[in-house]
């Protein structure tokens, strides 16, 4: 059946053939037959419609209850501050909310969007104290703390002239201008900009917020036209009572200068009566070098608390001396250390601060762009590099931009970008190796190999070119040559992590799993934060079918690298194999609405589609597979094609399924099993038997099960042992186990 759910209304409409029924969340056992046209009556005033396809009644009811609980909690959180309600009513609400405490944090940011009168907040605090609702109290306290910032943001919004919201303010009516401002406000509210800005004001990160807000506005898809978005956001951020980055930093510096230096009690005797001498520039430079070395050492040894402490001292000193520009550069230098250690979040934090300290430093912006790229924020990275280029940064920003385009799978644009750098800077090795990398991504392996070998000819010590060449050999399935190439690099550069990981990957491809595991673990011993080694190790464990250890490995990775898509994909597959499909879906759902995806995100999207297929959400699965046909990487398009064929089979669209498998180029295990099922179902026995003979010999037990069942059902026709749903479920499991 199909179902339409509204958590706000607390009702679901079930559509089964020609019959339509309604049920309410409070009485789910009671159904009432209605007309399909009643849809418009039941869902008047509702904005949270969820359309489910091919679901059971229980799934529909569970979805409704989950959606309703969330909406109810949101409603009650709002009513907690409503002075119109009697205290007894609000007390009851607080007690009920306390039982739903796990939902509150997810909804909390929505309440940062509007100021709440202080007396209402105070009343809510009193009620929480009275009832002992500690979790609710935490939510209220957060709101109280943030109110000054929320008020400033709201006030700044109110001051923005409606004239800015239309193209020709002199020619438009005041009503239209007000309407346009209201529409922008709705967008800003729905996109969470009010809350984000309040937090940005609180944390002194308005420059960053300005960029993020503009990105969201630039990528907005909806019914409103957001005219003048750049000017409006700029006007908002510079509104009355709000400091921009430079001003905040300046104020903080002034405060620091005025703050009396804390005296160490241990040194009191020594310092008594002695005046602290002013430091010369040379002494300052020596101090800074010592501090930087100490911080570097702390980062490299993984003692991040100590690194933070030393950094606080260095910050106080350099900013205290007025050396903002140098401090910004120091931060970037430390960010590069963090990056080398695989500490991408720390890299991002440091570079964020550097651009706050000196927003005019083009190189700092380029470093921040790199940090964003490492952390998977591609759209922001692109804009950041462009900003850097605007401020005058040259090769680094241009190459960075090309790298982001490559990560976004805009391969033609990435190639053009690298070639542009090479044209203006013929000796830029980064551009040459970058270009070779793009050629590899485009599957132009011979050209990629030639490009790397060209670089090696003119730059024989360039390790990136050497490891790049080895990677191409691996992609060409010349595994022995690839292994040799990596080992050559390791001989001259024994600490090169890329070569060591590459070698481990080749060993895995050769099915030498124990050796591969050992190789990854060696890398992790010297580089515990190297995410490539950690995900590689997890993949080997999965290939060895050690699922518990695999799960643990991926979960550990996600703690440190929450945005690492390989880990998310791997974890989702393991959860799916273990039957924890809802959790697997939750991991990957954000990929559905992403506009530009990396290669790993495309893989994740494919896995998500299969998860939807497995849970009978066929409509959503097909949406995803159709999207996948636009994937810029040909190999990955085939994965989506084969999955689409499976979904078409599930819907009984056999002719469409045949057409789809006819366009398949891949011959991997998953694609072949789909081909077999489609041909067998369609009665194309000759093609089916050919595949049957090949696949029944597969060492993968799951494949043998699938092939046997297809044979019983369609070929030898000895009778189906299982249902069709079982067959599709097994196909999904095959993907999760081998992905």
């Amino acid at each position: 059946m199909e179902a339409v759910i509204s958590g706000k209304a607390g009702l679901a409409m079930l559509i089964e053939g020609e019959q339509t029924r309604i049920l309410y969340v409070q009485d789910p056992e009671e159904e009432m037959v209605v007309r399909p046209e009643d849809f418009r009556y039941y869902f008047q005033g509702v904005g949270d419609l969820l359309f489910l396809e091919d679901v059971t009644r229980q799934v529909a009811v569970d979805s409704l209850q989950s959606a309703y609980k969330r909406e109810e909690t949101r409603r009650y959180m709002g009513y907690l501050f409503d002075p119109d309600l009697q205290t007894s009513t609000r007390t009851d609400l607080a007690q009920h909310l306390e039982t739903q405490w796990e939902i509150i944090p997810g909804l909390e940011p929505e309440f940062y969007s509007r100021p709440i009168p202080r007396e209402n907040l105070a009343a809510a605090q009193a009620i929480c104290t009275e009832t002992g609702a500690d979790h609710v109290m935490a939510f209220v306290n957060n709101l109280v703390a943030l109110q000054p910032s929320i008020e400033k943001v709201w006030w700044a919004w109110e001051q923005i002239s409606p004239d800015l919201f239309v193209k020709k303010p002199d020619e438009e009516s005041p009503e239209l201008k007000s309407q346009k401002k209201s529409e922008f406000e709705v967008f800003a509210f729905q996109a969470g900009l009010f809350g984000d800005m309040a937090l940005a004001v609180e944390n002194g990160k308005l420059a960053l917020f300005q960029m993020t807000a503009l990105t969201k506005a630039n990528h907005y898809v909806g019914p409103f036209e957001l005219w003048g978005r750049k000017t409006i956001i700029g006007e908002w951020v510079h509104g009355p009572g709000l400091s921009t980055t430079g001003k905040v930093a300046e104020q903080e510096r002034e405060e620091r200068r005025d703050e009396p230096k804390k005296r160490d009690p241990k040194n009191r005797k020594k310092r008594r009566g002695k005046k602290q001498p002013n430091l010369s520039n040379r002494e300052k430079a020596e101090n800074v070098t010592k501090q930087k070395d100490a911080i570097t050492h702390a980062i490299e040894s993984g003692n991040l608390d100590r690194a933070e402490k030393y950094l606080a001292d260095l910050r106080r000193d350099q900013l205290g001396w007025g050396d903002d520009e140098f401090f910004a550069k120091t931060l970037c230098h430390l960010a590069m250390i963090a990056k080398e250690e695989g500490l991408f979040q720390l890299q991002k934090k440091l570079t964020e601060e550097s651009i706050e300290v000196n927003p005019r430093d083009a190189w700092a912006w380029a470093q921040y762009g790199d940090a964003l790229l490492r952390n998977g924020h591609l759209t922001e990275a692109l804009e950041t590099y462009e900003r850097s280029m605007g401020l005058g940064e040259d090769v680094v920003a241009m190459c960075g931009r090309a790298e982001v385009l490559k990560a976004q799978n805009k391969l033609d644009q990435a190639l053009a970008a690298y070639e542009e750098v090479m044209a203006s800077h013929p000796n830029a090795v980064v551009a040459k190796t970058g270009r070779a990398e793009v050629l590899k991504a485009q599957n132009k392996l011979d050209q990629a190999l030639a490009a790397y070998e060209d670089v090696m000819a003119s730059h024989p010590n360039d390790v990136v070119a050497k490891t790049g060449r080895a990677e191409v050999l691996k992609a060409q399935n010349k595994l022995d040559q690839a292994l040799e190439a990596y080992e050559e690099v390791m001989a001259s550069h024994p600490n090169d992590v890329v070569a060591r990981n590459g070698r481990a990957e080749v060993l895995k491809a050769q099915n030498k799993l124990d050796q591969a595991l050992a190789a990854y673990e060696e890398v992790m011993a010297s580089h515990p934060n190297d995410v490539v080694a950690r995900t590689g190790r997890a993949e080997v464990l999965k290939a060895q079918n050690k699922l518990d250890q695999t799960l643990e490995a991926y979960e550990e990775i996600r703690k440190t690298f929450p945005f690492n898509q390989i880990a998310s994909n791997g974890l989702a597959c393991v959860l799916a194999v273990r039957g924890q499909t809802s959790q697997a879906i939750a991991l990957l759902q954000n990929l559905e609405t992403k506009k530009w995806r990396t290669s790993h995100e495309w893989s994740g999207l494919h896995i998500l589609g299969m998860l939807y297929l497995k849970t009978n959400q066929v409509h959503m699965a097909m949406d995803i597979f159709q999207q996948g046909l636009d994937c810029p990487r040909p190999i990955e398009v085939d994965y989506f094609r084969s999955a689409l064929a499976l979904a078409q089979l599930k819907r009984g669209e056999i002719a469409a399924a045949i057409q789809t498998v006819d366009t398949l180029a891949s011959n991997d295990l998953f694609s072949d099993s789909i081909r077999l099922q489609v041909f067998a179902t369609a009665g194309e026995t000759e093609k089916a038997y050919g595949l049957h003979h090949q696949l029944i010999q597969s060492p993968v037990l799951l494949m043998q099960e699938i092939v046997r069942e297809i044979d019983h059902r369609y070929l030898s026709k000895t009778g189906a042992g299982y249902s069709e749903a079982w067959l599709i479920d097994k196909q999904c499991t095959l993907l999760f186990a081998t992905a």
Binding site: K8, V34, F39, F43, Q44, E53
Partner: protein, 299 residues
């Protein structure tokens, strides 16, 4: 203040009206909501109900219904019914959660289904959802369906409880200028009269009325059902009768143009049904309505 009366031209699917502002007198589409030339505002559903062909046909139906009454006693009964119908109320039936959302603040507007589908997630493609696409409103309210709120006409304040346990009675003074009524559920009307969707702009006239003429329509529709056994206490159920399913609901449909907030609400009646509504929600509603001086009745 400009005075404008519209006349309608039917050009197949086009619905153009002429602004009779003596200075303006230009044509524009009925959905515009305001004359784009001189700015005079009006409500397209009300204008459609007031056009000459409609009122003429409605009056003819009304007269025919009166003429069919044979006995003076029955005539008195029908007259009484008609008088009572002058005091009918527009009632929207909704579930408690949505009523609470409306009551939250007077900036919360009661939006239509169409506005929400436009602003939020769209209905998915695919034949499985075609059954929900058979909506008549696009034909009935060409281009302005997203501004129409649906209610039912009621004599006792109770709405169609199949759509929710809260009957939200609207203030007449806040809605009368922008409200029209229709013989029955628009979809059922098209079904009963065997009207195809592409013929919708040419709906048979005489089945809709502006708010101030609603009693005429009620009589034209229901006079034939009043007999010797009908008593005054039966009038509310004669006018609005919820069925076992929504297919068998009987009512006069009310169409309100434009937004509705809590300020437009005169009263709320909550009828308890099994576990609905939750006591907690009822308490919240009670407190909120008190703040707006809106009476709440619980049955």
């Amino acid at each position: 203040m400009f005075w404008a009366v519209a006349s309608m031209y039917n050009h197949g699917m086009e619905q153009l009206i002429v602004c009779e502002n003596t200075i303006c007198q230009n044509k524009f589409h009925i959905s515009a909501g305001r004359c784009p030339h001189c700015g005079h505002a009006y409500f397209p559903n009300v204008k459609a109900a007031k056009q000459e062909g409609e009122t003429l046909s409605l009056n003819q139906r009304h007269q025919a219904a009166i003429n069919d009454i044979k006995s003076p006693g029955m005539l008195t009964k029908v007259s009484t019914f008609e008088s009572r119908c002058k005091k009918t109320l527009a009632v929207i039936a909704r579930p408690m959660p949505l009523t609470l959302d409306l009551a939250w603040a007077d900036t919360h507007m009661y939006s239509t289904f169409y506005q929400n589908v436009e602003a939020e997630r769209q209905m998915p493609q695919g034949s499985k959802w075609d059954v929900l696409r058979r909506l008549a409103d696009g034909a009935m309210f060409t281009y302005y369906e997203k501004y129409i709120r649906f209610a039912a006409l009621s004599l006792d304040g109770m709405g169609l409880h199949n759509y929710g346990e809260c009957s939200i009675i609207l203030k007449e003074e806040f809605t009368e200028e922008r409200t029209s009524v229709f013989e029955e559920n628009t979809v059922m009307f098209m079904k009963h009269h065997d009207i195809k969707i592409w013929d919708a702009p040419d709906l048979p006239p005489g089945y809709r009325a502006p708010w101030e003429q609603r009693h005429i329509l009620c009589t034209a529709k229901l006079a034939c059902r009043i007999n010797e056994k009908t008593q005054e206490s039966h009038f509310p159920q004669l006018l609005l009768s919820p069925g076992e399913t929504t297919e068998t609901d009987e009512f006069v449909e009310v169409h309100i143009f434009g937004p509705i907030t809590i300020r437009a609400v005169a009263k709320v009646i909550v009828k308890r049904y099994k576990r609905r509504p939750l006591k907690r929600d009822l308490k919240i509603l009670e407190d909120k309505l008190k703040a707006y001086n809106i009476p709440l009745e619980v049955r």
